[in-house]
């Protein structure tokens, strides 16, 4: 039988739940967002608050087997907000224009569609070409996971993983840069 933990069940009711969630997760999420994704502090706080309020909103609808599952849920929600944040910021680029109006010049910001993130697409294609454990190794290491944990997850010796990671990253860099060079040549007609 699964043990159902709903830590804040008794304290549901607005601010208290938010406060408890804040104390448990806010700083960790904030440091993750800033360190891993170089999001500025203001935006990072906004994302953290969004996550916490969202969790507080839906908290009663879920029950979790253990604390790790609960953390997983919080993390997934935060990841979604982070993904939306990057999508919104990268989809449009703001450009400044000067507009003449009644003999005065005004600066106007206009949002134009940004370039497709081809680098990411190429990388994702290259990642798809890799073996499953290789992909996991790169992604987990990118998230700062220690080799010891990754080793348990992919069932490979820890010492070998360090070598594999260095080689994989080197190869990936070469392949992505090759693809970018080819794209550049294609776009600029150097064939």
């Amino acid at each position: 039988m699964n043990i159902v933990i709903n830590q804040y069940h008794n304290s549901v009711g607005g601010n208290k739940l938010v406060k408890q969630l804040y104390e448990q997760y806010a700083k960790k999420l904030l440091s993750y967002t800033i360190n891993r994704y170089s999001v500025n502090e203001d935006d990072a706080w906004t994302l953290v608050y969004k996550t916490i309020y969202r969790i507080a909103e839906v908290y009663d609808k879920y029950s979790f087997e253990n604390e790790q599952k609960q953390s997983g849920f919080v993390f997934k929600t935060h990841i979604n907000y982070l993904r939306n944040y990057f999508r919104d910021n990268k989809t449009f680029e703001s450009k400044n224009f000067e507009v003449e109006l009644n003999d005065k010049y005004f600066h106007v910001k206009e949002e134009v569609p940004a370039k497709e993130n081809l680098q990411l697409k190429i990388l994702q294609r290259e990642l798809d070409q890799l073996e499953e454990w290789e992909r996991i190794l790169l992604l987990m290491r990118g998230q700062g996971m220690p080799y010891s944990d990754i080793s348990k997850f992919v069932n490979k010796p820890e010492k070998q993983l360090k070598v594999y990671y260095a080689r994989l990253k080197k190869q990936l860099l070469i392949r992505v840069n090759d693809a970018l060079t080819r794209l550049n040549e294609l776009n600029h007609g150097k064939r």
Binding site: K27, I122, L123, Q124, D128, L139, G142, N177, R182, R191
Partner: protein, 540 residues
């Protein structure tokens, strides 16, 4: 309008991009969900101890602990000095070094004068004695003993003693002795030696254990082996290989199932080929590369795993065809290694029969449709392309195109090759030097093998003497690689009655690389110059 140039990535840039790729993972898939949970545990359950923990803090902490330990050690030394009586300086001590040496030896201390007896080292305080055994050792136990034969009683050398499902293992020495260190707790230990029955026992102990094992002899009568002259020996796959094959298969099926009827100039594995202007046939997806050795091997091994040996025999490549290929002895060595060695994984598969290529398409189609059915999507069909489809795809929709690229030559403006072809067959038609660049206008470079048979041998690594990596050279505007050159590709003729091999290969001259050239092969069969690529259409 001129498009902006994409800048090449640095290592740090790649890290950021990998993190972005993590965000874009599909967490509905179980393996990605598991991955995310692992990261969440690390981020939210462990890392929170120091919210802004970094290497600097860690190094400071280490320094602090080191300083503390050092200070503790110094204070201990001082205490010892305070308790040690002053050493009497005698002339005999200066002259007789041996006496001083003996004074430090407890065995002879009784024979020493009183003054020297007082110099016997003070025993360390109890606290030090208790901690003299390192913590790591305390937590481990040692299992030791001897392994001997149950029948003769003689010690067995080289018997393997190991803990099940772990890296902890040791083998016995000449006296049959072994010693194994492992953590406290429960362990399953196995003792194995060829010719003896494997002995397994469970162990739960918090103290060192000594266990002697007597192994019983094992006799297995070998069954009669009949060797038929033409018998094919099927490869035997280990569990690890089977698992890896299954993963590769899933990956291949997933890529086919993901193919979408949208034309994007991106790096899709199966880019969409829009229909021609006259709408002679509808749009389809085509493999961006020729089928590789790795992909074909996955297919063959899967047949083997599922016991389809007849199909395996039909589909397996005829590697002996490498011998005297293109009337050259140069490629003979490839016969034993081309299909099986890892370094040729991404070279195109060759020497396959027509039936083999068709079986591969059917197999890939089945695998992809399994995924499609699960997702509730309509079925697709994987097959060889028709000649008209292939020509349309190769020319990137440009009617009357000579080559897949815009130039009317197999070399670009600085004389580099645009495809893998035979350079010895048309020496007068080529422009020299091959490696003229802005930095190197004279084109001198010793790296190039001037006697090479193919462009691959000329410009690429030593091992690529015939075919070349399927992603080599620039793709055409439909993002298809090596449409001309490398290997000729199997297609159905437009009336679907015969097969053709299109596009020229590593042994073709520049004329045969042209899209509308005459057919190089009068009859199409297994050959080291012929490979294939698949196309995907909707419907069954």
């Amino acid at each position: 309008m001129e498009k902006d140039k994409m800048q090449s990535l640095s290592s740090a840039g790649l890290d950021q991009l990998i993190n972005q790729a993590f965000l874009n993972l599909d967490f509905d898939q179980p393996q990605n969900l598991e991955l995310m949970e692992q990261v969440s545990i690390k981020t939210l359950n462990r890392a929170g101890f120091f919210p802004s923990f970094n290497k600097l803090v860690f190094s400071k902490l280490v320094l602090f602990v080191a300083a503390f330990v050092l200070a503790d050690g110094l204070s201990l030394c001082l205490k010892r000095l305070q308790h040690t009586p002053l050493k009497p300086v005698t002339s005999s001590e200066h002259t007789n070094k041996q006496a001083a040496t003996e004074a430090r030896s407890p065995e002879v201390s009784q024979t020493q004068p009183e003054a020297l007896v007082a110099q016997k080292p003070i025993s360390a305080p109890k606290r030090i004695q208790n901690n003299s055994v390192p913590l790591a050792v305390q937590e481990k136990i040692t299992l030791s003993g001897t392994i001997h034969s149950a029948k003769t009683g003689e010690a067995l050398k080289g018997a393997a003693v190991y803990k099940l499902n772990s890296d902890i293992s040791v083998s016995t020495n000449g006296q049959g002795y072994y010693s194994l260190q492992m953590p406290k707790g429960e362990h399953n230990i196995v003792v194995a030696l060829l010719g003896y029955q494997t002995y397994t026992f469970s162990l739960y102990s918090e103290e060192d254990v000594r266990k002697n094992v007597a192994l019983k002899e094992e006799w297995k009568s070998l069954e009669e082996v009949v060797v038929k002259p033409d018998a094919y020996i099927f490869p035997v796959l280990t569990e690890k290989e089977k698992k890896a094959n299954e993963k590769e298969k899933q990956k291949m099926a997933k890529l086919v199932a993901r193919a979408k009827p949208i034309f994007e100039k991106s790096a899709d594995k199966y880019p969409y080929i829009p229909p021609p202007a006259d709408q002679a046939f509808s749009g389809f997806n085509m493999g961006s590369n020729e089928v590789t050795n790795l992909e074909y091997r996955t297919f063959l091994f899967d047949l083997l795993i599922h016991g389809k040996k007849d199909e395996f025999l039909l589909a397996k490549p005829e590697q002996h065809l490498w011998i005297n290929a293109a009337d050259q002895s140069l490629f003979d060595t490839l016969a034993g290694i081309y299909f099986s060695e890892k370094k040729y994984n991404y070279n195109p598969v060759v020497n396959i029969s027509l039936k083999g290529a068709q079986l591969y398409c059917t197999w890939l189609c089945e695998q992809a449709n399994l995924l499609k059915r699960k997702a509730g999507e309509p079925a697709i069909m994987v097959r060889l392309p028709y000649e008209s489809e292939w020509l349309h795809a190769a020319s990137a929709g440009r009617a009357g195109a000579v080559y897949p690229w815009l130039r009317d030559s197999v070399q670009n403006s600085v004389n580099w090759f645009l495809a893998n072809c035979c350079i010895q067959k048309q020496p007068d038609k080529l422009r020299y030097p091959f490696n003229k660049t802005k930095r190197n206008p004279s084109g001198d470079d010793k790296k190039f093998d001037r006697k090479a048979y193919t462009a691959a041998g000329m410009t690429l690594a030593n091992n690529r003497i015939a075919t070349v990596d399927v992603f080599a050279y620039n793709p055409n505007d439909f993002y298809l690689y090596c449409m001309s050159g490398n290997v000729s590709e199997l297609v159905y003729s437009n009336d679907a009655k015969t097969f053709k091999a299109k596009g020229g290969n590593w042994s073709s001259d520049a004329e045969h690389l042209k899209l509308n050239s005459e057919d190089e092969f009068k009859t199409v069969s297994a050959s080291p110059m012929i490979g294939f690529r698949v196309c995907i259409t909707s419907g069954k």
